[in-house]
């Protein structure tokens, strides 16, 4: 349970990201409910894709020099593209709808295909590199900054207020247009307002969370809620609650299992739909309550089986004042060398003019930070290569580490670290999987161990190298602070 409540704490590093996801999970289904009821679900799929095309288009324009640099505001310029493309797309689809030529589904399918194709083409054209743009397009909500969270809260809060204020008008215009005309006159404004609200949350949501997650939040909670209710008010409330549960549970699973958030949430949403249809035979109220309870019960238990991680103990506590800090083993396929800060140096390295051997790596940074912290914990820390320069990096397999330590005639305890994954696709966060252990050399007993598997946000980093440095600092802080 504590692992779950940890992410709900405002002091939790990823709390802004969780809050942002929860806001989207709460509000998107309210708009999505109307899309589902009006049988325009495809619009919920097509508009996010059009928004994504807008994002990649503006990045391409910016990288090609047609738009000015906005400093660190990559997402801001992407947001402009997302908004412009979303509303242009809606306008065009609305115009074609008015003309009434062809099938509505056909138009949406063609628009989806076109937007998907353009998104990829703009990425390919982008000279800045595809991975960076792809990451922005994926909308890594985990890297949500405080400013972006505030913007998200304002926009989605305004949308929520509008839905609450005009829910009767939206229902009337969606359910019975003839009655709406008799009671309120020919008020196209309610249609326009509903699509405007949909456009707003899609345009902002796509750049912050990605098209897949936004489509999932729009449609899946409403589809899951529909078979369980027979009242419109219950439908809207249940959709929103399921969206919130999906957001929090999906976020938790994503962080704990190191899975991408969008696909995790969408998969979870589909499971909830199957569950909802399975529960149809039970009474509506009981099944809705059961669905929420199942979600809440699964939340802490499904992935939270790990016990709370203990910090590195004090030296006295484990009677191992002499500690050998082995080199950090790189278990990845990459060299994990930090990029040179001097661009001319990088060019020279690429051309093979100078060696990159002496460049610092993530392993060096990690070991330096570990040494500083271990000394502060009271350990008499030594480096094995000081006794034998050939001493290798030790793997996290304790028996193998102990064997090598004994062969190297070391005594006391050895601290071993092994990195399995270190991916800094953008400067906003680094995905890390690593193992850390303190092993007594005499009997091979593991005195302390920690498995780290998480995405480490690095919001203040300005480049990938800085992101790795910040991530090392954060991981070591976490290891020693608990």
């Amino acid at each position: 349970m504590s692992a779950f409540f940890e992410i709900l704490s405002p002091s939790y590093l990823l709390f802004p990201a969780l809050l942002g996801t929860a806001i989207m999970g709460l509000v998107c289904p309210l708009i999505g409910s109307y899309l589902v009821l009006r049988r325009t679900v495809f619009l919920g799929l097509t508009l996010p894709q059009i928004a994504a095309a807008g994002v990649s288009f503006t990045f391409w324009l910016q990288q090609s020099g047609f738009l000015p640099e906005w400093g660190q505001g990559e997402r801001s310029i992407g947001m402009v593209g997302s908004l412009v493309f979303t509303f242009l797309g809606m306008g065009l689809l609305g115009y074609l709808e008015q003309r009434g030529k062809g099938l509505a589904e056909g138009r949406l399918a063609a628009a989806y295909a076109l937007a998907g194709g353009l998104t990829i083409l703009f990425i390919v054209f982008n000279p800045a590199g595809q991975i960076e743009v792809l990451n922005l397009l994926k909308g890594e909500v985990i890297a949500l900054s405080q400013g972006e969270l505030r913007l998200l809260a304002v926009v989605f809060g305004a949308v929520l207020a509008a839905i609450l204020a005009f829910h009767r008008e939206f229902l009337l215009i969606s359910f019975d247009r003839d009655l709406a005309f008799l009671l309120k006159g020919r008020q196209v404004i309610w249609d326009v307002l509903l699509y405007l609200l949909a456009g707003l949350i899609i345009a902002f949501g796509v750049i912050l969370a990605g098209p897949l997650l936004i489509f999932g939040f729009l449609v899946l909670p409403a589809l899951a809620a529909r078979p369980l209710v027979s009242r419109m008010s219950s439908f809207l409330i249940l959709s929103s609650v399921l969206g919130l549960v999906m957001a929090v549970f999906g976020f938790y699973s994503s962080v704990r299992l190191d899975l991408p958030l969008g696909p995790t949430d969408v998969t979870l949403g589909c499971c909830v739909i199957f569950l909802a249809y399975g529960l149809r035979r039970v009474t509506a109220k009981a099944s809705a309550a059961l669905l929420i309870l199942v979600g809440l019960a699964l939340l802490p238990s499904s992935c939270g089986s790990r016990t709370a991680a203990a910090p590195v103990p004090e030296a006295k506590a484990i009677h191992a004042e002499q500690l050998w800090l082995a080199k950090v083993k790189n278990g990845t396929d990459s060299s994990l060398l930090l990029p040179a800060t001097n661009p001319l140096r990088s060019l020279a390295e690429m051309a093979g003019k100078i060696s990159s051997d002496y460049r610092q790596s993530v392993m060096d940074l990690l070991r330096d930070s570990l040494k500083t912290e271990l000394v502060q914990k009271g350990f008499r820390t030594s480096l094995p290569e000081e006794t034998d320069a050939r001493f290798p990096a030790l793997s996290s397999d304790s028996s193998s580490a102990v064997r090598i330590a004994r062969e190297g005639k070391l005594s006391g305890a050895v601290f071993v670290s092994e990195i399995w994954r270190w991916e800094s696709e953008s400067q906003k966060f680094v995905r890390v999987v690593a193992d850390f252990k303190i092993v007594r050399i005499d009997d091979g007993a593991v005195l302390w161990e920690r498995h780290v598997q998480r995405a480490v946000p690095t919001p203040s980093a300005t480049n990938v190298g800085q992101a790795s440095t910040d991530a090392v600092r954060e991981i070591v802080r976490d290891l020693f602070a608990g």
Partner: protein
């Protein structure tokens, strides 16, 4: 400033020559109606007064719904003069229940409450007095006990009565019912027609309903509008002849 409907009403009154005569709630003079300039019905002359029960009879596809939609302002007439003696918000419209999308999760009470949406402002909480009124109209159609049930889970006859309750919730002066008796059993037909007669007699409402069952329309209505093959003509109903 007078609304277009008010001006229509005054015009209609003047045309009738005297302010003492009852005001026609709907008046059509040489009206042509249809879609995209293609007339479905031509030279329609009709006036409906308070307390009248008017039947519209004709086979399927003869233009009954087109005539209703034109009277309700949902279609513009292609020619002639159409005037209304009350605002459109006082028209209680009962569509065919099959025209409503069962995808919507709506209880019977929620359907009935929609009739009050024209009086409730956007930011307002749905008023208690409107909830009471919804209960009263549900009582009138004898279905208060089903108010929490899903509308689309009700039988055909129950759906029709709920839609009639919704139309009454509008506080109408005239009710227009599109095929209210289709898809319901004989007993329900009688209870619905009895209820419509009661509305005209006790509440002085004008009721204009359509059916393809000519015999039934002749038995119930004061006045019958017959439509077939683009032609429209009026007949007296048996009830009026008997009275």
């Amino acid at each position: 400033m007078k609304s277009e409907q008010d001006l229509d009403a005054i015009k209609s009154t003047r045309e009738r020559g005297s302010l003492n005569e009852p005001l026609a709630l709907v008046s059509l003079q040489s009206v042509s109606l249809g879609y995209d300039s293609a007339p479905v019905l031509q030279d329609v002359n009709l006036a409906i007064y308070p307390g009248e029960l008017v039947g519209l009879a004709g086979p399927n596809g003869s233009g009954k719904t087109t005539l209703f939609r034109t009277i309700l302002g949902l279609l513009l007439p292609l020619g002639g003069t159409l005037s209304r003696g009350c605002p459109l918000a006082n028209f209680g419209y009962v569509p065919q229940s099959a025209a409503l999308d069962p995808q919507f999760p709506l209880s019977a009470a929620e359907i009935v409450e929609m009739g009050a949406y024209g009086r409730v402002r956007s930011f307002e909480v749905f008023p208690k007095k409107e909830k009471q009124l919804a209960g009263e109209v549900l009582d009138q159609v004898g279905l208060r006990h089903l108010m929490k049930k899903s509308f689309f889970a009700l039988s055909g006859g129950q759906k029709q009565r709920i839609l009639i309750a919704r139309a009454l919730m509008v506080k109408p002066k005239i009710m227009i019912l599109d095929e209210p008796l289709s898809g319901v059993d004989e007993a329900t037909r009688h209870s619905i027609t009895d209820f419509l007669i009661k509305l005209t007699r006790e509440k002085n409402l004008a009721v204009f309903f359509s059916s393809h069952d000519l015999e039934m329309v002749q038995r119930v209505a004061d006045k019958i509008v017959r439509v077939d093959k683009g032609r429209v003509w009026l007949e007296e109903g048996k009830r009026r002849l008997q009275s």
